[in-house]
């Protein structure tokens, strides 16, 4: 084989061993996506075949040799209506089918496990709820719906896993989300598909899909010792958030326990659902999202907290199920070196403080879809 040029030899070897024609289906949504894909491919193929057959047969039947004089035909409303309505019908089927698929991919189920992903030039950073950090890789278990909450620190990126058939842009300033449920263990490509500057093509990584047991092992092996919510709690304290958000009757800020997922009446008149995006915005642009009954006094934390920090805070607030944690935080802040934390003396406030606004608006907090 030595006499064959190495380039051709290399090429042949790759042809035989490494020639992919169709991506693996490794998520629950993948076969559904492929069904629509093949349906469309089939329709296209049929359409193309019809056009080619017609053109070829007309070319043979009505070539100048066989058919020297053309017959002038104005048109045919019936025929034209046929090839207007049939494609229209097919396209509408594709639209409906595609839209159903779209909403399935971008509507995470309520029980999805949330992993935060921050994109920056040129790497992906994943923050697991257990506090595990990863760069350019993502370890996930099979058989469990995983929701990704994505944000970018700088330019547009796009988180793409071809084997799962999902993709979502990570854009600066706003959370986006996508979900999937992996079905087959293995290692799959992770690409950034939105052009993001010089090393765009190096912003790639691996999606490592593990069996539940392996996943547990991985979780245990890569723990940072503190869960995401715990680091959020620490940040919450060090930023003195609890100076106002302390669940006391005279607190200057709303109680944050159980706030996640509830509907809040805003001072500006609207109603907002306290989801991840809302919480993030309230930290960075508080005066835009003031809850009814509270004054516009919260300072902005834009530029003071990194995207990872905001994520930790959001995760902490999400998990605040009772006022107890706030109390606890209050006590821990006393241990912090900064003495400037202005907490009201005698921090034994009662529990009954309403969440954000008086009437029982927080009832909805549990049953609803969380984003």
């Amino acid at each position: 084989m030595d006499h064959i040029s190495p380039v051709i030899w290399q090429f042949l070897v790759k042809w035989l061993t490494n020639f992919a024609l169709f991506p693996p289906e490794a998520s629950k949504i993948a076969p559904q996506m492929d069904a629509l894909y093949f349906f469309m491919a089939l329709v296209s193929l049929i359409g193309l075949t019809i056009v080619i057959l017609l053109v070829t047969s007309f070319c043979i039947l009505y070539s100048r040799e066989r058919h020297p004089v053309a017959e002038q035909i104005e048109g045919s409303t019936l025929l034209e209506a046929t090839w207007t309505i049939i494609p229209l019908g097919l396209f509408l089927v594709m639209f409906v089918w595609g839209a159903l698929l779209y909403f399935r991919i971008y509507t995470p189920p309520a029980n999805a496990m949330n992993i935060y992903v921050v994109g920056k030039q040129w790497m992906w950073k994943a923050e697991h709820p257990g506090g595990q950090h990863e760069i350019n890789s993502l370890h996930i278990p099979i058989g469990k719906p995983i929701q990704l909450t994505l944000i970018s620190q700088d330019v547009f990126h796009s988180f793409s896993i071809p084997a799962f058939r999902v993709k979502r842009e990570a854009i600066p300033g706003r959370y986006t989300s996508v979900w999937f449920e992996a079905t087959t263990p293995g290692t799959y490509h992770l690409f950034c598909t939105q052009y993001c500057g010089t090393n765009h093509s190096q912003m790639i990584g691996d999606i490592v899909v593990l069996t539940p047991d392996d996943y547990k092992k991985w979780l245990a092996g890569s723990t940072s010792g503190m869960s995401l919510a715990q680091s959020g709690e620490r940040l919450f304290a060090s930023l003195s958030c609890n100076a106002c958000h302390n669940a006391k009757p005279d607190a200057r800020g709303p109680n944050l326990a159980n706030v996640y997922g509830s509907k809040l009446a805003l001072a500006s008149g609207g109603v907002a659902t306290a989801d991840d995006a809302y919480l993030r915005e309230s930290i960075l642009n508080p005066s835009q999202h003031i809850t009814q009954g509270y004054a516009p006094i919260m300072p902005t934390y834009q530029g003071q907290v990194s995207e990872e920090g905001v994520i930790a805070l959001v995760e902490y607030i999400k998990n605040l199920n009772s006022d107890y944690r706030v109390e606890q935080t209050l006590n821990t802040t006393d241990l912090l070196p900064e003495g400037e934390v202005k907490t009201a003396p005698g921090a034994t406030g009662p529990q009954g403080q309403p969440v954000a606004q008086p009437a029982g608006q927080k009832a909805a907090s549990k049953g609803m879809v969380k984003q």
């Binding site: 090429f11 790759k14 490494n18 020639f19 024609l21 169709f22 996506m33 629509l36 894909y37 469309m40 296209s44 193309l48 056009v51 053109v55 007309f58 070319c59 009505y62 100048r64 058919h67 004089v69 053309a70 017959e71 002038q72 035909i73 048109g75 045919s76 025929l79 034209e80 207007t84 494609p87 229209l88 396209f91 594709m94 639209f95 595609g98 839209a99 698929l101 779209y102 909403f103 399935r104 971008y106 030039q121 330019v155 547009f156 796009s158 793409s160 071809p162 999902v166 854009i171 600066p172 300033g173 490509h189 950034c192 598909t193 052009y195 010089t198 090393n199 765009h200 093509s201 190096q202």
Partner: protein, 554 residues
């Protein structure tokens, strides 16, 4: 009768008419200060070919780099600059002006029986604007290039690159105004300059297609202009409209950009469709099947074309309701294209078909555009868009429509009207070979990219995982063939300027007004204002005309 309709005058006695628009005046200045739409069209043709050559060379570099999975030909940032410049040049300096500014400019006034476009000076101005835009692009390349991608995605283009975004933006801005003025001129001309008897429904479909494209140019391009102005201000003053850190919204740029740039693909393809209507009719000796449907489908594409732009943003986090609406409208805009394809197909039915080069290119167009259009539906359906967008599937789809569609149509049109523009025929055999080579090369280049896209290979990657290599090798090999296919016409068309056979007035026996005058035409096109007394594509009228002529000569 042989299988060709070409009827040339006796070559031993035939002469190119002594007075024509080329020989009317001499000297460079007479060209640079001309108001004659035909001369401006020729100027455009030369400059567009020049930029096509540059853009094509850049495409060659891209394919060469992608031959191997590693970045071995050039560094990633060089690669980024190369594909950005390829995109900017091909989109703004080739595809948008290609057919309208050359063939449209040359033919629309003649087709409607006018002496010139309504605003000749504006026409010349638009060429100069084009040239200024082109020079700025060349300046950009010479001074280090730009690496934002032709889409100028914010905040990348505003805050994260230090390359020549400003000069590129200015180039696009100026070239945009060139396109606005061309479109404005066409609309006014088609409304106000038609000769007596030339009703709207006697217009050649070429004119209808240009009318539709012009509407998009006039109404869409200013929005691109303001988006670019905002980028420039964002870069210089830091105004924050697109900067989330200052409260702006980068998606707003996407809205403004695609409000133009989606209709822009219809600006590119519609004139091509106009060409195909002419060639298919001429080479099957038949009136276009369902003239009205084809005419209105052009207008429908133009109108619906304005309402689908956000399908470029499905995965960027726009509202789900917006996704629904835009996806539905995208499906609707696909229908008129389907109508056109079938109407052209049925134009062949019971025709008398010959297979000259323009017809071969037209067949190529129909096949490739059908694939390009259908794959567009894959991307318009919001679900499959998630998987396929931003991959080589997009690249392949876009090139099937633009290169397989538009460029094929452009070549069909150039061959078809070459005898009218220059008075000489191109060499038939070698041009047929070129058409076939182009078709094969094209499919080999771009079909593998559909598979690559389905596999998930992202676009704008300088390096890629090794399992994508085989398909990339195919693609690069195809690009080589395609390059030959494009080089051939440039060579033999240049050759034919001197050595081509004298074409006479109407080598194709076509019915358009442009074929009833001398080739190359007089500066004022018509000696006397013509009166249109028959429908478009009336081949029986042409036969009668020939008969009376023979009678009067005899």
């Amino acid at each position: 009768m042989s299988s060709t309709i070409v009827s040339l005058p006796d070559q031993s006695t035939a002469r190119i008419p002594k007075t024509n628009f080329i020989t009317k005046e001499n000297g460079l200045l007479s060209w640079l200060l001309t108001g004659d739409h035909k001369r401006i069209a020729v100027l455009y043709l030369i400059s567009i070919t020049f930029f096509f050559a540059i853009g094509g060379a850049l495409a060659g570099l891209i394919r060469l780099e992608l031959l191997t999975p590693q970045t071995d030909l050039m560094a990633t940032d060089t690669y980024n600059k190369v594909f950005t410049m390829h995109g900017v040049i091909m989109v703004f300096l080739f595809l948008v002006p290609s057919v309208p500014a050359t063939l449209g400019n040359f033919l629309i006034p003649i087709m409607i029986g006018a002496k010139d476009l309504a605003l000749p000076k504006i026409n010349l101005l638009s060429w100069y604007l084009y040239v200024v835009g082109g020079i700025l692009v060349i300046y950009t390349m010479a001074s280090g290039g730009v690496d934002t991608g032709w889409t100028f995605t914010t905040p990348l283009s505003t805050h994260y690159v230090n390359t020549n975004v400003m000069s590129t933006g200015l180039a696009v801005f100026i070239a945009g105004f060139s396109s606005i003025f061309t479109g404005l001129n066409f609309i006014v001309t088609l409304h106000k300059m038609r000769c007596p008897g030339m009703t709207w429904f006697r217009l050649p479909l070429f004119c209808w297609a240009h009318y539709a494209a012009s509407i998009l140019m006039v109404l869409g391009t200013p929005v691109l202009a303001i988006a670019i102005v905002l980028i420039a201000l964002e870069r210089t003053v830091g105004i924050g409209v697109f900067d989330p850190a200052k409260g702006g919204d980068p998606l707003l740029f996407q809205h403004l950009f695609w409000f133009y740039s989606h209709p822009a693909v219809y600006i590119m393809i519609l004139p091509g469709m106009g060409v195909i209507s002419e060639t298919i009719s001429t080479f099957s000796r038949k009136r276009v099947f369902g003239y009205t449907a084809v005419a209105f489908s052009s207008v429908a594409i133009a109108v619906f074309g304005f309402f689908v732009w956000a399908h470029h943003m499905f995965i960027m986090g726009i509202s789900n309701y917006a996704v629904l609406v835009f996806s539905l409208l995208t499906m609707l805009v696909a229908v008129p294209s389907a109508i056109k394809i079938f109407n052209w197909t049925f134009t062949l039915y019971k025709g008398s078909i010959t297979f000259e080069t323009p017809m071969l290119y037209s067949f190529g167009f129909m096949g490739l555009f059908t694939i390009g259009g259908m794959t567009g539906v894959f991307l318009g359906a919001s679900g499959t868009d998630i998987h396929l967008t931003e991959t080589y599937f997009i690249v392949a789809h876009f090139h099937f429509v633009m290169v397989g569609g538009m460029l094929m149509a452009f070549l069909a049109g150039i061959h078809f009207w070459w005898p009218k523009i220059t008075g000489r025929m191109y060499p038939e055999k070698i041009s047929q070979l070129a058409a076939v080579v182009t078709f094969i090369g094209f499919n080999l280049t771009f079909f593998p990219q559909f598979i690559l896209g389905t596999l998930g290979m992202p676009r704008r990657y300088a390096a890629y995982p090794p399992e994508f290599q085989v398909l990339n090798v195919f693609s690069t090999a195809g690009a080589t063939i395609l390059g030959v296919g494009y080089l051939l016409p440039i060579l033999y068309l240049t050759w034919s300027l001197k050595y081509g056979e004298i074409a006479g007035n109407n080598p194709w026996q076509a019915t358009g007004l442009e074929w009833q005058i001398q080739s190359p035409p007089l500066t004022e096109n018509f000696i006397e204002t013509p009166i249109m007394d028959h429908e478009a594509y009336d081949y029986e009228w042409l036969e009668r005309q020939k008969a009376t002529e023979v009678a009067s000569v005899g």
